[in-house]
Amino acid sequence: MFGLLVAAVPLLAHHHAVQAEFDYDKEMTLTGTLERVEWVNPHAFFFLAVAGENGDVTTWSVATVGPSGLRRVGLSRPGFFEVGKTYTLGTYQALDGTDFAWLRDVTLPDGRVVTVWSGKDGR
């Protein structure tokens, strides 16, 4: 597998090291209302309004791969991400402790789950 990877990824296929920003040991599931999507390189962003136990709402910024990577797993079509609907995002929290995370998988409003990043499970 390692040899295959070397052959298959001779140059950058991704951007920064995710491990420089996010902690694979801090898995976090966020359920909330989608406020905004930024469809840009190198990373797309989902902004999710999540209500805490005390009722306070925090907007989490969840980064993920760029649009071409999202297309690779079939998430580029219109309608999959709609502002105002409820999404559950499996994430890894940022090392710096901010309201920022890296997307692992997304549960769409109709219940379908799409894995975007396998994180440490790929080790």
Partner: protein, 294 residues
């Protein structure tokens, strides 16, 4: 199939995406050993008798875009599948750093420059302008994703993740370097080409010192001269680049050769053409905690 022309019902997703495989990831096509069939096809020739390099050189990436019926791709994640196997990367980032550093093909810097190379490699998250949306430049951006060849001129098109699209137009009519442009330091320099038999040879000068020759901190000086060689064998494109920088290197550095396959998919296949690019907006730097990179 219907092209991706439907309007978004809600203004959530604001644009559709970049390419399947930019030049920074064409390697997988080379990793799949080009079939003898692709090379044995007669090489198309231009009216002037030269090989015609025109084409979309992305090979045939696997088509994994969903059908719109909920049939999402499974068994890979967004990193996987580039090699056509559908296999995800194993501890992708740390492994790719190791593999890159262990490549025995390194530029031979003069002794006094290795400390700088190591510093830049260790601090790539902040020192590598490519991480902040800048063009990686020549030769790091590798071979073009698309070529259009005309008499006396070729046009190279690139789609570079995450920087975006760029192009080069290169005269092949024997003219010298441009007297002004070749003096202005730029990411892709000033290029002139000529044919040596069936090989297109491109010489480029006039670089800035922001770009690197390759990812592990391989910086260079203003005197860099890059020579690229392209040849077509049937539906296979061979690409090689050599970097000469006598100020810093003890000998020319011949980069690992690249082999690209022609994309022969039907026009309406999602992986057959160029997707609209998206802007590159860097937001990660403020959150970087460690120096890890890949």
């Amino acid at each position: 199939m219907k092209p991706y022309s439907s309007r978004y019902s809600v203004a959530t997703v604001v644009a559709i995406a970049a390419l399947w495989l930019g030049p920074m990831s064409v390697g997988p096509q080379g990793a799949q050993a080009p079939g003898a069939a692709a090379e044995s096809i007669p090489t198309p020739r231009a009216p002037d008798g030269k090989p015609d390099l025109t084409g979309l050189w992305t090979g045939n990436p696997p088509t994994t875009v969903d059908t719109g019926q909920g049939d999402f791709v499974t068994g890979i994640d967004a990193r996987g599948g580039n090699d056509g196997t559908g296999a995800g990367a194993v501890n992708f980032e740390r492994d790719s750093t190791l593999s890159r550093r262990s490549d025995p093909n390194k530029p031979m810097y003069k002794p006094e420059f290795w400390e700088r190379v190591n510093y830049l490699d260790d601090n790539r998250n902040v020192e590598d302008s490519y991480f902040s949306c800048a063009n990686p430049g020549v030769p790091r951006q590798g071979p073009p994703i698309k070529i259009m060849q005309a008499p006396g001129e070729v046009a190279f098109f690139y789609d570079i993740y995450p920087a975006g699209r760029t192009y080069r137009t290169i005269p092949t009519d024997g003219r010298p370097h441009h007297p002004d442009r070749s003096l202005e330091p730029t990411w892709m320099g000033d290029s002139v080409g000529h044919w040596e038999g069936d090989t297109l040879v491109i010489e480029t000068i006039g670089f800035n010192v922001t770009t690197w020759l390759e990812t592990p901190g391989y910086f260079h000086g203003y005197d860099l001269v890059v020579t690229e060689r392209l040849s077509r064998e049937g539906n296979v494109l061979h690409y090689q680049a050599t970097a000469e920088d006598p100020e810093m290197l003890t000998e020319p550095w011949v980069m690992n050769p690249r082999t690209l396959n022609l994309n022969t998919l039907a026009w309406d296949d999602p992986a057959a053409g160029l997707w609209e690019d998206v802007p590159c907006i860097e937001k990660d730097l403020e959150h970087l905690v460690t120096k890890e990179h890949h």
